[in-house]
Symmetry: D2
Subunit: 358 residues, 4 copies
């Protein structure tokens, strides 16, 4: 039986008393709340920030694993990373649901305290910027990066601005994922010696045997219309020359390989990891889109409380601020499962029995 | 153009700094969180409590309107009550969604800090009890009221216990709704003089003309199986003698009348109000049911951290702790719309042009 | 008790046998389904089409009421219209949820039968086009209207194309709403005689007293930044000269007035109606956006099965194919509730006691 | 480039024309639908049946894999099983969402055609019974099995009754899972020779070394209150003597072992499989519970259209008709991760490198 334990009390453990004192509506006059809905406005934003803290907690734990070059790609650690990224997806679905509650506030109800918020804006959420940054959204890839640089009205104060700038210098999850992909040893010549599907020209432009073969199959799979889009040219460019967005060709090749052979036991976790990143991006997209709709319903085309041009800025961010879009885009280059080259026995064995990535 | 305004900053307005300092995990050792998921556990409960505060805020505002005997049943105030009750429904849907996030914590992850919570339990949420009480859940109608009375291990501390006891003495929303229903003047003889559907025996056992007529139609609508259940006897009992649960017969008659003639303009808000109460009850039921499922997945049949017998208590609460179940149950006594008696012109006019309730 | 009734059987009543014979996968070979997921693909689209039928059923019923010029704006009929539009919103939320199920199909699983669908495309859903058309999406307001005109590969066949063209000639819900708004008699001089807030210049450019006054208040409410956007000029243009999108100025004024005085009992239904239209638009937007995301995950940048350029077309439709956007945009021109002019007693009485619209 | 392909057309491929002819409302009189909402009632049930077909399609595919004794527990086939069970969970979430749409039908609207359904009831859904049966719900474990046996009014017709009876004789997913669990070779003496945590008495009552050790640790983990519940006695009974519900002790031991060591690469799929079964049960529970609530709101305590006592039957089914409850209940017997015995190297290696189950 268990030894003596300290007794806890729900309210003390959770700091409820302090928590319920943090709502300080500006429309409070002599103890009376003039704008009833300001309470909702405060509480929903505090709930967002609580969840943002949890998301940052999960991302940090993932980064700690991913930054170790010795991580076993199929071991318990990687399992945890996937588990935590999936939780981030679930939290984000909840955050998107929260918009339903905010939409019970009508434009007229918002107008009752909107002016009091003068200068304050969701744009100033430090944690949200940190989430974007720690995932890998680069300043230069954002819609209107100039918005982020000013520290005046509607922007961050200097202290927060510096803190975010500092934060952005750290390694991002995207970079760690890229490095991890590049460590994948699938294309080592050793595995492919004597491969039964070895193409005639076993090397060309630096393409390894697998990719020479794959490129042939992919070319055959293209429809006339696909050809008009020059998908083959894009294939070469993305996977062998220029890369795509923030990703280098080597990393993109490993990602495509994982997507193709995702049914192999050894690829299940790596695939789940890539998929979670894509889902996070999708939920972030939903978040921006729902937010845009909500702003349209709440303030229309007027200038936001923080001075942002509201609707236009948000529309731009919806269309642009993706982080892992290129990972999702890789599916353009898949072929049918039944045309997939059979892997050489040596590699299959290694995949089956596991190897430490380099 | 606007006069000078004070400039606000998002983080200050929302007290973010204080908010993010309130997470004090018990498994923190030398700055390191031993049980990674304890953070989730704390944050989700804090989010619940934030939303509970908002719900109490809405209920209090509804009570303020409903407690005025002069409230115009079809005026802006009643409109606000319905609007706010619908918001409570929306918030509760969100709280039910939150369980999805909690379920990303596995039993083994919970076990890592479960023992540290010794004595603390969601049962001790003061705000949750206040919500139940302010809506109208009476101590004596709860499952196992004895659980609420002890102040020892796993129960409320004395201060909170006294506070809740004090709180429970206040008028509840249910009582206010009942009083408001009883003020409805629909059955004033004045309206029904010369009614074209006047039944032969214009009075019987104190039934007013409408109800004599309605009882006849209802009786004809019953199937053989309905008769076996003695639905007519229940009708008499509920609407004219004993009442039902916490509701008196007069109030139940008014509620049934509102449900029957809900398409009349003047009944739209009263009907929406009754419907919102039923929906709140339904969402509360969902909340208890999801919570029960979550506990089953998290601790199985073990005794809860607060010493409650967990599963059994929650199952009992799911089946029993309804607040407005009788309001929902009224639909058992509806008849088909095409058999509805035509209302007398005097009442129709009054309904159309509005009257202050007594 | 009830007279003799015909006995029904669930399966016969619902035509289940026929329903379950309608799945004819193209990848069926000698009774064996080669591509397991083709069943999902068929069933989800059939579910979409069932729900589309229900939506058309609801819209047609709404149109029947709205097309009667004698409809009582606050009577049972209008109540039904709002009820049914809200149901359309609920159905659309469900359709958006369905995407979650479709996303359990992986790109590789889709590739297994994608080629067999050659030429078929969701673009060819006749019912979806009819929904858009009956709500009021005009061909010329669509993104890339030229796509709709061809009857070749990937487009409608001639029979369906003609049917849709015929269908598009009918009156739309948007037109009926516009006519109904224009019938609103609020601004009849009669109501405003002796108004206590009568502006000095009681007429100007054809603005009625209310709008002269409102324009003054609105102007004062504008911030410096709002002025830079020339919101006052837009106000004049939209509500008095050019109108906005498909809406004429008279209709937009009535809509703004309803939004401003939505708390008045007589405006509750009209406001709920406008709000439902805005919500339908929002859900349609969500539908397009989710669909776009799903396509990105399923086929990437490849050309769609119907030959559409997929992603780009869908992105264009998300940003452009709104139907009631201008109704939502009206909120840009709201003022704070406490600055709202008090309505003249004559109008208040009319609003309270109801009037038939002209 | 691709060879010639047959061109398809959306409407033909999906059988839309036939699909949209299957709605035959009973309240149709001379081409006019008397009860507007009967269309919704038909369409939502047809949507349910479409999705039921998909669920049966997925379960059948899972059964095909699970019934092979040679299935590789960690191979692509088992991957597919988990993938498909997860899809069943997603579909069930959608079905639960559908109730929201049905709830837009009011009791009075339902009363308009309710009598016409006389005898027909959702109870008669053949596919739903097949889903329950194929998962493993035994007739004798159902609430009120007698309801299922009659073929009269409100029950199945004889043809369907026989079909279901025949169907119930087939092997169920539960049985296949049980057999698969019993094939697990973890406790082979071979793996445990020279185990460093070998307990003193290396055998007792047929307990293998691992379980002797585990039982000691579990006993130490019990609190005073746990002991009052005699959890240790239950442990012995469930895992070594009587089994639990439909599960034999050997299968339950394997399931507990998988839950304990779920972080091991080789256990990820087996754990995901067990978890999916528990989630399906949870969603089925939600389905029954939502259905119960909906019936309460639609017909109250009256007898259902099929003559069932409605509410009581559904309440009984909610509390009783679980299929995999004992799998979920296993978590009662978990211990903290840090107390978990270290596995012997031989077993770890086998887990890591995979073995075919016997």
């Amino acid at each position: 039986m268990n030894h003596e334990r300290t007794t806890q009390y729900y309210g003390d453990y959770l700091g409820i008393e302090g928590l319920l004192e943090l709502q300080k509506p500006l429309s409070l006059r002599d103890g009376k709340l003039i704008a009833h809905d300001e309470m909702l406005f405060i509480i929903i934003h505090q709930a967002y920030e609580l969840w943002f803290k949890q998301i940052l907690h999960e991302i940090a734990a993932c980064q700690q694993v991913m930054s170790q070059s010795t991580a076993d790609d199929n071991g318990p650690d990687m399992n945890l990373v996937v588990h935590r990224l999936k939780r981030v997806v679930e939290i984000w679905k909840l955050l998107n649901h929260q918009v339903d509650v905010l939409e019970t506030m009508t434009p007229l109800d918002f107008l009752e305290f909107r002016e009091l918020l003068h200068g304050a804006s969701g744009f100033q959420s430090k944690q949200f910027r940190k989430i974007e940054a720690s995932l890998g959204l680069k300043m230069e890839n954002r819609f209107r990066p100039d918005y982020y640089k000013h520290t005046e009205f509607g922007g961050f104060n200097e202290k927060d601005f510096d803190e975010i700038n500092q934060f952005e210098k750290q390694s991002t999850l995207l970079q760690m994922v890229e490095n991890w992909l590049e460590r994948m040893p699938f294309f080592d010549r050793e595995f492919w010696r004597d491969w039964e599907e070895m193409p005639d020209e076993s090397e060309s432009d630096g393409y390894s045997p697998f990719w020479i073969r794959y490129r042939q199959i992919y070319e055959r799979s293209l429809s006339e219309r696909d050809e008009k889009q020059d998908l083959l040219g894009k294939f070469d460019d993305i996977f062998f020359h220029a890369g795509w967005g923030p990703f280098r060709p080597t990393a993109l090749r490993a990602a495509l390989f994982i997507m193709l052979y995702r049914d192999e036991p050894m690829f299940r976790l790596p695939f789940a990891l890539l998929n979670s990143l894509i889902e996070i991006d999708e939920q972030l997209g939903n978040f921006r889109y729902r937010h845009l709709q909500m702003v349209r319903r709440m303030i229309g085309s007027r200038v936001g409380t923080g001075g942002s041009s509201g609707e236009q800025y948000l529309q731009g961010a919806v269309n642009r601020n993706y982080i892992f879009r290129e990972l999702a885009g890789i599916i353009t280059f898949l072929i049918e499962r039944r045309h997939l080259p059979t892997l050489p026995p040596r590699l299959r064995q290694a995949l089956r029995f596991g190897f430490e990535t380099r």
